[in-house]
């Protein structure tokens, strides 16, 4: 194993120091370190963060390898500063058996760019009718702990209750895509002024808030863990705030795009801005930012959702919902919160690693800790060019925007996956 001596790096808000990475762990931290056998990385002006952890990634493999593969998505993740991603279950076939989750897990290991932790489906085929073999997925080599029908809501309250109860046996968590299906039939964008003007069927905020309210009560009733995917409304924040104050074991995520973009983006009718849940209003964006800063929302998760060109270069109503996110998430966080490194580390690395139970991730660089870390140049600014992204897809909503921050290097267990801003493999 190679050793790396990272010189003059600031660990979060600390003073510049050196990090010696050897045998997969951070061996030493301190000024003026030397190691003859180590490759020196000059990190003057850079900030070291614990490697980012994404709780919500769509890697599209198996099934839509034209849009993304485990390997291409892993590369996009590494370039975005991630060392672990949780792969959503809505593949084809659905990740609802031990076989499929093990396949995804193995593909992740083979790619070797980030740790790919599969998420298992809650229900067979995401159909919302009967439980998938959650225990088999938990016991498989993939060691699944997060279960989600993401893309679909587990709408049946009895089924949701059972799922929450059942996964207690292996300390699992149900990650709910909160969308009351009857209230969102045919929905195309946030229900409000803009949807009225554009003549697009509305996706009302209450369809999200009603499910979250129900689910926190169910989780409280059965004493289980609930995770709420991609929270998008100010009303949801209030429901979560009250639940947390009562001690309900609920965690929640917000996506970078819901922290930055609003429903007015739909005015172009360009489906690159079509996403589920939809972009909301400026008031929702403000509430989500405040909730994340405060901790009512625990983490940023990308909901990285690659789609082939033909699924986006069409009429709004016919386009698939979803946006790329892995390669731009940190830049959006910097844009929104500025260089609040401890907040960013907490919301994008430590807390998601805790929720997912990913040992060895989400740990600040310190002697003896697995060397999963990323080096950020906070002074850099870059223009997002879709064609330059490592993802197989091009559906970034930030095309041609200038964003702050650049990932210079990422290390996975002491080995660089990204150096000089380029993927190592």
């Amino acid at each position: 194993m190679t050793a790396y001596l990272i010189r003059n790096v600031r660990v979060l808000d600390g003073e510049p120091t050196d990090l010696l990475v050897r045998d997969g762990v951070v061996a030493e931290v301190g000024a003026g370190l030397t190691a003859d056998d180590a490759t020196v990385v000059d990190a003057t002006g850079l900030v070291a963060l614990p490697g980012l952890v994404d709780l919500h990634t769509h890697l599209r493999e198996p099934g839509r390898e034209d849009a993304e593969t485990v390997e291409s998505g892993s590369r996009a993740a590494a370039l975005g500063g991630y060392t672990a991603v949780c792969a959503m279950a809505n593949t084809s076939p659905v990740a609802d058996t031990a076989g499929v989750v093990e396949q995804v897990w193995r593909l992740g290991r083979e790619a070797g760019l980030v740790d790919v932790q599969p998420i298992g489906a809650v229900t067979v085929g995401l159909a919302g009718e009967r439980l998938a073999e959650l225990g088999a997925m938990a016991d498989s080599a993939a060691r699944v702990r997060i279960f989600s029908d993401d893309g679909h809501c587990v709408a049946d309250p009895r089924l949701m209750r059972r799922a929450l109860e059942y996964v207690k046996a292996f300390d699992g968590v149900i990650a709910q895509h909160a969308e009351e299906p009857r209230l969102t039939e045919g929905a195309q964008m946030h229900e409000g002024e803009v949807s009225t003007r554009l003549g697009l069927t509305g996706w009302p905020a209450v369809a999200e808030e009603a499910i979250i309210a129900r689910d926190v009560l169910l989780a409280e009733h059965v004493g289980s863990r609930l995770h709420v995917c991609h929270v998008s409304t100010a009303g949801s924040v209030e429901v979560l705030r009250q639940a947390k104050a009562r001690g309900v074991r609920v965690t929640a995520e917000v996506t970078p795009h819901h922290l930055l973009l609003t429903d007015e983006k739909a005015e172009s009718y360009d489906p690159v801005f079509k996403v589920n849940p939809p972009l909301r209003t400026a008031a929702d964006v403000a509430a989500l930012r405040a909730a994340l800063a405060e901790g009512v929302i625990d983490i940023v998760a990308t909901d990285h959702a690659p789609h082939a060109v033909e699924d986006k270069e069409c009429e709004w109503a016919y386009a698939r919902p979803g946006m790329l996110g892995l390669e731009t998430a940190l830049s959006i966080a910097l844009d929104v919160f500025g260089p609040q490194w401890d907040l960013i580390a907490e919301r994008m690395s430590r807390a998601p690693a805790r929720i997912a139970g990913l040992d060895g991730h989400g740990l600040d660089p310190a002697p003896g800790v697995p060397a999963n870390l990323t080096l950020v140049d906070p002074a850099a600014r870059r223009v997002i060019e879709p064609a330059e992204l490592a993802s197989r897809s091009r559906n970034t909503p930030y095309a041609r925007m200038t964003l702050p921050g650049r990932i210079v290097a990422t290390f996975l267990r002491g080995e660089p996956t990204v150096l000089d801003g380029k993927a190592v493999k």
């Binding site: 195309q188 229900e191 409000g192 002024e193 803009v194 949807s195 009225t196 003007r197 554009l198 003549g199 697009l200 069927t201 509305g202 172009s268 009718y269 360009d270 033909e310 270069e313 069409c314 009429e315 709004w316 109503a317 016919y318």
Partner: protein, 308 residues
Amino acid sequence: MIRHLLSGADLDADTATLVLDTAAEMATVAGREVKKLPALRGRTVVNLFYEDSTRTRISFEAAAKRLSADVINFSAKGSSVAKGESLKDTALTLQAMGADAVVIRHPASGAPHRLADWVDGSVVNAGDGTHEHPTQALLDAYTMRSRLGRLAGLHVAIVGDVLHSRVARSNVLLLSTLGAKVTLVGPPTLIPVDIASALAPGIDVSYDLDAVAPGVDVVMMLRVQRERMSDSYFPSAREYARRYGLDGPRLRRLPEHAIVMHPGPMNRGMEITPEVADSPRSTIVEQVANGVSVRMAVLYLLLGGNNR
């Protein structure tokens, strides 16, 4: 002049008035023995229709032909569209064929906006999903002006399924621009959220047709599809007709000069009774005739017929 006509909001008061004045000139052509002007000779207008709409397609076709344009009708049925060709590929094909203007009717809101990104010619929105139908609003405004002599200060009630109506959206925008007062009337389930702030802050909303009727100059009845019942927008066709339909007794409570409009096709017995539809107060047939003149004016102005 603007390049595309995608929304009623594309027209400011001067431009809209220019279209209406030009339409009035075009209307004189219809009275001639030879109903044809050479204005668009050598220009190509494509009617790209993804929805059945014989009425609108024929109206645009007649308008283009009276201006001597070459007209290509491209219907989604029996064309490559049925084989799954994307809107973009169709756009590129039309572009390669040298279309100077594309008139598009499409079931998806915003499809004309997408098309305008992909072709060099002018795009005219002939109705997109539940979004807009700006030439319908222009012909409605033209009809009101012809019958009542003005638009500024008129009180227009638009009654019915505003939520799903592209006619209503375009009319609210255009009539507000031209100084008319608009009141939207319908059951609360069929009035879209935040409609005033979305479209025009000056409009009113009422759930009570009888309260609005005595003060209006124009009542515009919108088509209400019976299928909306199954989505619980209202309990039954009979209840809808009782509360929001225009029948003889309600007609008689309108001011004497007030006119009744309908964009068609009508659901007789639902939003309008035959007695009202066929009464002299109704402008429904006139609207169809005015449609050709207004669409001639739109094509003429968009294709620069006045500055070539």
